[in-house]
Symmetry: C2
């Protein structure tokens, strides 16, 4: 099985200018540009947790597996370069596809996204077993001249910004991940951001993490949080409000950023992205996660987020 | 669970001079030396296939998971630099350990090996599910001045060399992987090798792969193959001979190398490693895998190797 898959990959993986040795040897070799620091992220997705294989087009599963990794590179404002793929396949395949066919569909989904972001699929490892599907991808990127965008640079007084609209990704966006790579690179190049991350576990939890990493607190302006249509649709079917979905749902894969008020307001004025950027709060001295009361006093906000 | 594990990792992962940003942000950042090509390998190991978790010290499992990746770097004559770890844990743990305790034991096993080879554990991802344990590691290395050692450089007339002794790794060596990193670096620096790989799927199969990648054949001198004591012990319990174990068993993680006769004989004379190096055959024009008959004629040899 692995032999046939390697043959398919050899024929279908496109060449890439930085890939010196790809599939077929014991390891891949990438030409790494002079003085380019290496950004590395690894993220795994598994059946019944991150997707339901029996109900999902495996190309979408492959897309998600790579997409969440590219989102992590975006979170560091790193330019994606390459990825390696480790598959553990159910021996019997799924949905009428044998294990090899399943692997090829997964790869097709990855390759489409890889092409879109000029990412070399540099290598992989494929195993099969009696367990369910598990995919682990490691992605590499380069930092730009500004250096990596970290979670830890926010200061009290900085404003909190978010791209896009939040909540309800379970209705489909959690699979169709659109990693905010170009958005992160553009913002980080053009404006002086102080901190950033991607929202994968829900705005409330991730905002509290950014605050903790920066040694400050974050106060959210609940009336200004952009709520996705999916969050509204979902709220019509359950007991949570659209805002609760926007705060707590996971897998938005939007960018959460901080910048000084001057820079943040400039970004809002210029709206340089295809997706809207919104100011949703500010960093404060008091550690923790906060919302504003009627008199603009700080009230504690629950940081429970999405549990995968 | 992941939060507690991240805390443990933050306290227990040693600093590394090349690691600028480790555990805790969206991705790791490694300082990459000027003009150093990046060698990348990814290899996964899974319960019931590569080890039996319920019967194995999880530190050994962690050791193996990293060891097989370092062995792939050794196969390229690359110097290991860093690794990232993706764990998918059985939600309920195993053998009286909960999932977090299991993860820590796995990491302890990896960290010991990582320290031995000066490898930075740069980051990781941890998930849990109802399935069995799966570990995927991606390891990075640097090529040395000689460049990477590939499978494809052997020429007819080159001699075939192997480190150590082969067969029977299932008796324990398959877990206690000793990646031949130092051996590969020393040999590749001091001698002009033409090709190399590590033996993971059995000598016969892997030798045929090296031959195929090099566009030639390989003829093995069956009476000169170093047979491990484990292969002898195993042969006493089953129907295979010690030689058959040495040819077909997997997971030796020894080096299979080729060099011109002059270079090969110099290596044999000088025996520069702590483990023996042995000439076990030669590269020939006729593609395929061969053994010698009584009149030194080439006879086909079955390339079936170990199936994980």
């Amino acid at each position: 099985m692995e032999l046939e898959l390697v043959r398919w990959l050899t024929e279908n993986l496109p060449a890439h200018p930085l890939l010196r040795i790809g599939i077929g040897d014991d390891a891949a070799v990438l030409r790494w540009p002079t003085d380019g620091d290496l950004v590395v992220t690894t993220d795994g997705v598994t059946d019944e947790v991150d997707f339901i294989l029996s109900e999902t087009d495996p190309q979408l599963v492959g897309h998600k597996a790579l997409g969440v990794n590219l989102s992590d590179l975006a979170a560091m404002a790193a330019e994606p370069v390459a990825a390696v793929v480790s598959l553990v396949l159910p021996r019997k395949g799924c949905g009428g596809r044998d294990a090899k066919e399943l692997a090829i569909e997964l790869y097709r989904g990855m390759l489409q996204l890889a092409e879109q972001f000029n990412v070399a699929i540099a290598g992989g490892d494929t195993n099969s077993w009696d367990g369910p599907l598990a995919i682990s991808i490691t992605a590499f990127g380069q930092v730009t001249q500004r250096g990596p965008l970290m979670r830890s640079g926010a200061k009290p007084g900085d404003l909190l910004l978010v791209t896009g609209a939040l909540g309800g990704s379970i209705l489909g966006r959690h699979l169709r991940v659109e990693p905010r790579v170009r958005e992160a690179l553009l913002l980080n190049e053009r404006y002086e951001l102080s901190a950033g991350m991607d929202i994968s576990d829900g705005l409330a939890l991730d905002a509290s993490r950014l605050a903790a990493a920066s040694g400050c607190g974050v106060a959210l302006r609940l009336d200004q949080i952009p709520i996705s249509a999916d969050a509204v649709r979902l709220a019509a079917c359950d007991r949570a409000t659209p805002l609760e979905h926007a705060l707590g749902d996971g897998e938005d894969f939007e960018l959460l950023l901080t910048a000084s008020p001057e820079v943040a307001e400039q970004i809002i004025r210029e709206q340089p992205l295809g997706v809207p950027v919104t100011i949703i709060g500010e960093c404060v001295d008091q550690r923790g996660l906060w919302k504003y009361g009627d008199q603009r006093q700080l009230l504690p906000l629950d940081a429970s987020g999405y549990r995968h």
